[in-house]
Subunit: 312 residues, 2 copies
């Protein structure tokens, strides 16, 4: 008997933009690229093993219990009630610590690949729990990256306990630009600068603007989206950690972006744009602003409505 | 020449439910009844005068500069750039200090009546400014009562400065129950118990729930509405001021309400219901709970989607 089955499944999970300005811990959106690829294969030896990680520059642990792909895969097996041996191979397309949901993409790809290997005993939504466990181990218990990485599109996390998600519609002509400078920022560091409490008027302002943003996604009112993105609570605190951040946001707005803010915990910065053409111009302007802070960067112009994890 | 013109205009403005649970200072909804009626008439003597107020038990000032109807009327005249004499007669159908937007209803009715007398130089939306001035004089600068009192339906106040409003859709089968106990609670007193700041996790919870509530109004997901109404920030603080408040809310939920919370700054309590029939049952249960706290009350079962101010 060979020590591996022939069946190998390859899965891609995309980058995601969490928060989207003022939806801190509440909103997340899937991008078209970049993403992580996970190959999963049944092996004779029981348990979970990561055989190889590429694209991470040696930064990520091969130990399955310390790696979000391994943790999500393990919890998926457990939830499905199956005890077999599985070997994972991870190809990181996503930069680590970039504010694009790198840990979530690995988790989502691994959970989905394992579930496919088992013949899909779990629905996609049921993979969110295992992926949240993975996130909790490395960056805190939140779902605003793993939910869109699995489900695609724009997801509102109403509640974590119990988990309650809402898929929001996305206007057809909406594009999302993300610019990622070549500096790393840990989620833990980015969480440490957050205020412990918020003045009541800021609560009112943030609830009002997020409510109007949701309304604008339904009504397609792009002008309203533009007015709703700025956030007084989380963005100003985190902008301090990202060289040139406010200049990049202002360059995006000057170039025609509907709204611009930090992606996840940063350092990536995203913009909403009203067309692909505008998105390309905005991406150039944002990259130029980062280069003034001596940072080169990767640019992505993505349709607003992209699918999540998928088999390759 | 007679000292009054023959032209007298009568206008009705409805009660409104502000906040709706967690939309503090952000959401307001018009009810079908009760409401205030304002009659306006051009008179020879320049300036604004209130000739009579009924239904208030003598509580409200006849002095136009101290009365929200007078203040809103004066600002409407000023905005229209007209200097004439106007006499107002106010019939208060709304109890004062009830959390149903009593001051806003008088203001909305007066502003609309004056604008009609002038031949409608201003659009309805332009009357919101004059009505906010009136609110600011008695209970703080907010628009969550005057906007729905004027415009009808469910209004989201995204921003006060500049004023930016969004009309939200209301599911056809949604009914709103309001129960008003016979105790008065001043908005100032109800504002004094509010926390000055809010822990960040409560901000996340409130933004998430309000965002999901807005989504549910668009999608018609009544179950989601039910899950979104509870609020951890404002409602618990204000419930202390209203005898039996939490019992009334729980009685409403036990009787089948989708959600229940304080209307505006209280003491009225509102519930969302999935039908008129359910609304009637819920109203009975809420009134019974208030009667256990030795409070009799007025009940209203209103369609969710009601028009605002109107000429009689």
């Amino acid at each position: 008997m060979p020590d591996k089955s022939d069946k190998q499944i390859s899965v891609f999970a995309p980058a995601t933009v969490a928060n989207l300005g003022l939806g801190f811990d509440v909103l997340g959106l899937a991008l078209i690229e970049p993403g992580d690829t996970v190959k999963a294969q049944v092996v004779l030896e029981p348990g979970l093993r990561i055989s190889k990680i590429s694209g991470d520059g040696g930064a990520l642990p091969l130990e399955a219990a310390d790696n979000t792909a391994g943790i999500a895969a393990w919890h998926t097996l457990k939830k499905a009630g199956v005890e077999i041996g599985i070997e994972l191979e991870i190809d990181k397309g996503l930069p680590i610590g970039s504010g694009l949901g790198s840990s979530a993409a690995s988790a989502a790809a691994a959970a989905y690949a394992v579930n496919l290997l088992l013949g899909s005993p779990l629905r996609k939504k049921e993979l969110i729990g295992p992926c949240i466990e993975a996130e909790a181990a490395v960056s805190g218990r939140h779902a605003d990256n793993v939910a869109p990485a699995l489900l695609g599109g724009l997801i509102l996390i109403r509640s974590m306990q119990p988990l309650d998600l809402v898929r929001l519609p996305i206007p057809e002509d909406l594009f999302v630009v993300v610019v990622t400078p070549e500096v790393e920022l840990s989620t833990k560091e980015a969480r440490a600068v957050l205020p412990g409490s918020v003045p009541l008027p800021d609560l009112v302002s943030n609830t009002a603007n997020l409510a109007a943003l949701v309304s604008a996604f339904y009504s397609g009112d792009l002008g309203m989206i533009a007015r709703c993105v700025p956030d007084k609570v989380v963005t100003p605190a985190r902008a301090e950690l990202i060289p040139g951040c406010m200049d990049v946001i202002n360059a995006a707005l000057d170039a025609g972006a509907l709204g611009s803010s930090i992606s996840g915990s940063g350092p990536s910065v995203f913009s909403f744009c009203h067309s692909q053409r505008s998105g390309i111009q905005v991406a150039e302007a944002m990259a130029a602003a980062f280069s003034k802070a001596d940072l080169s960067c990767r640019k992505v112009v993505s349709p607003g409505n992209c699918c999540g994890v998928r088999r390759l």
